[in-house]
Symmetry: C2
Subunit: 202 residues, 2 copies
């Protein structure tokens, strides 16, 4: 009858529980105001245990950030693997992001919260690797379409901003309560706009 994570077990559930509690706390009060004690209370972990796993509050935030980005990227990779073509690829990029944000607003809110924070730019091995993988995914799918001329000749660094910049901007507003309509309500609009922005011009 013992619950999977009754007490003192090494099943790894403790780590997940801490992350889940932290995501909640961070989302409710912001990272700065969230107390380690609260995270411990909600997850059933002691302070010492938390520090054993993550080293610091920033360590928790970093782990959450990497985990969120990874999940998001996995969805995108799965969706892209199922299609072929420049236009459908661009639309998939937009729609996968919209779906993910709609399904996981807490994760999205947290990621937006810290993505411009100091440590997001810092030397973090896992983060740099993830960033590299992300670039590689985009490049491997869309590279050929740039080469073939199906996509407009653009500096590569401008591709992602043009395609998903509007979605991110809208999503931030929506998550902040500044826009009433859920992201999904404008999915077609943003997908159309993304394709128009990067398709080859006559």
């Amino acid at each position: 009858m013992a619950r999977a994570r009754a007490s003192g077990t090494q099943d790894g559930g403790r780590r997940e529980a801490i992350l889940a509690a932290a995501l909640q706390c961070f989302g409710e009060t912001g990272i700065e105001a969230a107390a380690i004690g609260d995270i411990g209370a909600r997850s059933g972990a002691s302070v010492g245990s938390i520090y054993h796993h993550f080293g610091s509050k920033e360590g928790i935030a970093r782990a959450l950030f990497v985990e969120g980005l990874r999940r998001n990227m996995e969805l995108l990779a799965a969706r892209l693997a199922a299609v072929r073509g420049a236009e459908v690829g661009v639309r998939t990029l937009v729609l996968a992001l919209i779906d993910w944000i709609g399904a996981h607003p807490d994760w999205a809110r947290f990621i937006y919260m810290v993505s411009s924070s100091r440590f997001a730019a810092e030397a973090d091995a896992a983060l740099r690797e993830l960033s590299r993988d992300y670039g590689a995914l985009i490049e491997s799918y869309f590279g050929p379409y740039f080469a073939s001329g199906a996509l407009r000749a653009l500096p590569r660094e401008c591709f992602a901003p043009l395609v998903i910049g509007p979605v991110h901007d809208y999503a931030r507003r929506w998550l902040n309560g500044q826009a009433p309509t859920p992201l999904a309500g404008h999915a077609a609009l943003f997908a159309d706009a993304a394709w128009e922005a990067v398709r080859a011009r006559p």
Copy 2:
């Protein structure tokens, strides 16, 4: 020979000095890690003085945020007042933002840092007023062009994301060191894309 802000004067210089020091500290180490003591040391203000003016660390951040947005909006308002027409208006929106970010990267970095933070959504009179003014500025300039059909029929809440979303997305990456080329290097590209995204379609 007393310097303008020698000590204990009420000339307002103290408040500005605190804000300037805070912008530096926040930018270097992030808001959480920045210590009130440091801000005091850099600005020459005592801890008590800082709390008298701002009430809390979050209060300092809030004041900085509002001030930054206000300056940004003033530039935009001035530029828009000098032009007339749908296309030039959209381009002005993009270019004013690009210019401002290029000229004030510290402000931009800070604003991005906190714009998704908890207090940005909270009930702050000055902030809500500013947000309202911003909306009114956009509406008063572009409203007529929506009405005349020069701009595509769009949900109003999608207009700003489509026009400046890509710029924000690129700017965040650039400020994080993830994109080498300064924003100004892509100004024409982003302005063109913005206009294409919202112009009336044939």
